[in-house]
């Protein structure tokens, strides 16, 4: 069959001349869909508004906080907290945040990845598995301050002999529990993305299930798992509400010097807690300090995020 070519010579009769004219106008005219364009612009505007909010936020905080860094340089980062605005620094917060991150990495990462491996690789599709999965989704939606109450009730009050009460240990355990569901969910997604053929190839050469998981599935899912877990670390870094319930100090304190154990059982604070504390202080000076502390917090979070992106790009594979 050849191409269909309409016979251009033929005229279609539409009855009245007015109707023909109308159809001709539609066929020839260039119409603007004004309403559609307005709609599309409005939609784009919502995204640009989000961008504008972010730029305003960063500009405002940057402009206020930069002065502190300009005047005091790294002194601001290495000084302990003080009620004197001119001497106050965020050192204790930096140390405290880092110590809490260690707990998250040591407790939440292995437990979370382990749970994800069970759910994705081992679990049969039955009621028990579905219950565990639904339970994890619900845990991810629990407000963070409720985790603070959990930490207060269990780690601070019930387990006081072990944790020492309102200490780094309690704070670390609370944060670890808080990010656990997020770690499980992101690790599960990474495991699910590993094609089944990888597993089947392993079984075909006689590997046991654990051998397949250890040597094939986990390495293949590693970039996704790493990215997800590190991003949950960034989330934990900014968390404040649960920590003020489990003892991150909102006032001023002296860092107990001494060995590691004494430190773990001593008072602590974190960067976001310092932000909260200073934002409640009256006076212009503390407003600047708060903004500077926010800059320090954002810098730490950006470093963590950049690390996640770097690892993703370095190890990413496509199937």
């Amino acid at each position: 069959m050849g191409l269909y070519r309409p016979d251009l010579g033929t005229e279609i009769s539409l009855g009245g001349g007015a109707a023909t004219e109308a159809v001709r106008r539609i066929l020839h005219g260039r119409q603007r869909d004004v309403r559609g364009l307005a709609f599309q612009s409005a939609l784009l505007l919502t995204l640009l508004m989000s961008l504008a909010i972010m730029v305003t936020l960063m500009a405002q905080i940057g402009a206020t906080g930069w002065r502190v860094f300009a005047e005091r340089g790294t002194d601001f980062l290495t000084s302990p907290m003080s009620s004197l605005a001119s001497r106050a620094g965020v050192w204790q917060g930096l140390v405290g945040s880092l110590m809490l991150m260690v707990f998250v990495v040591v407790i939440a990462f292995p437990l979370g990845i382990g749970a994800a491996v069970y759910l994705e690789e081992y679990a049969p599709d039955n009621r028990r598995t579905r219950f565990i999965a639904a339970n994890i989704r619900n845990l991810a939606g629990v407000p963070s301050i409720v985790y603070g109450l959990l930490g207060l009730a269990i780690f601070v009050l019930v387990l006081r002999p072990i944790t020492g009460g309102l200490t780094v240990v309690s704070g670390g355990l609370t944060l670890a529990v808080l990010v656990l569901p997020i770690v499980i969910i992101t690790a599960s997604e990474a495991l699910r993305a590993v094609p089944g053929s990888i597993r089947e190839a392993g079984y075909a050469v006689g590997a046991s299930q654990w051998q397949v998981i250890r040597s094939h599935v986990l390495p293949a899912a590693a970039p996704g798992i790493l990215t997800g877990t590190i991003l949950s670390l960034a989330r934990a870094l900014g968390e404040t509400a649960p920590l003020i319930l489990v003892g991150a100090v909102t006032g001023f304190f002296f860092q107990s010097s001494g060995n590691l154990l004494a430190r773990l059982h001593g008072p602590y604070t974190t960067l976001p807690t310092i932000v909260y504390t200073w934002s409640r202080q009256p006076g212009e000076e503390f407003r600047h300090l708060t903004a500077a502390a926010i800059l320090a917090l954002i810098m730490v979070i950006v470093v963590v995020n950049v690390l996640a992106i770097y690892l993703r790009n370095r190890f990413q594979r496509t199937w």
């Binding site: 939606g141 299930q209 909260y276």
Partner: protein, 310 residues
Amino acid sequence: MDRSSGSLSLADLRGSDRRRRRERAIRAAFFFAAGVSVLISALIVGSLVGRALTFLRTVDLGSLWSFGWFPRRGLFDIRTILVGTLLVSGIAMLVAAPIGLGAAIYLSEYATPRARRFLKPILEVLAGIPSVVMGYFALTFISPELVQRISHGADVFNIAAAGVGVGILVIPLVASVAEDAMFAVPAALREASYGLGARRMTTAVRVVVPAAVSGIVAAMILGISRAMGETMVVAIAAGATGGSLFTFDVFGPGQTMTGAMASLATGSDQVRGATGAYPSLFFVGTLLFLLTFALNVASERFVRRVRKRY
């Protein structure tokens, strides 16, 4: 196992016993890791509900329905903090619903893959802003530059600024859940609509959005739930840290459930010793947990409805 016989039995094919025992142990360890999450849920419910009941037994029940929330004076009016929470999350959704939904429609229906690569990170970065930072922004920018311009008599600390701040934090969540729902709408529906001569806007508004309505509702419910649980923005920007009278005034300071808990636990106001005020933490926490849990379950129902249909 009779190893001397010439034929292999089923037991031979199972492999070595040691290897099988090891496999079982490893599987049990992974199962334990998954079980920890169930343990955590049980602990949350157990520790919260137990202590909340203790609070209810010790407190004068009349104080739960008085004229304000002043825990240190033994006044625990639930209405005050419930209304505060509803006001904050209502204002938050006034911000997050249109912006989040608009962003979702644009990303799913209009944006080219290249534009997506630039636009999607905006929401991702917004989602990464810690809530304390947003609290500071609400207090030092949204309150003076936005709220106090709308209402000149507004307090520096006010519910409206906190609500707008919470709303900004909720935008990425609403956008991503709604976008997922619209992404799940089969392309055939869009093509059918275009085939009938419908325009892009008509297709988006009259075909895709109605088809994804369950998921969009889920996004809104999840947004409300998240807004109710948001603590630091309210604790910093809404004021009334000592307590609050029952009020509907969004331009004045107010107390939400989360804000009440944060101020009970903060700094020199710490109530570690005081009886009554301290257990009230767990009572409010239980209420908040139940509310957000109900909302999360409801939103999951809606999400599942989308999945079932397509």
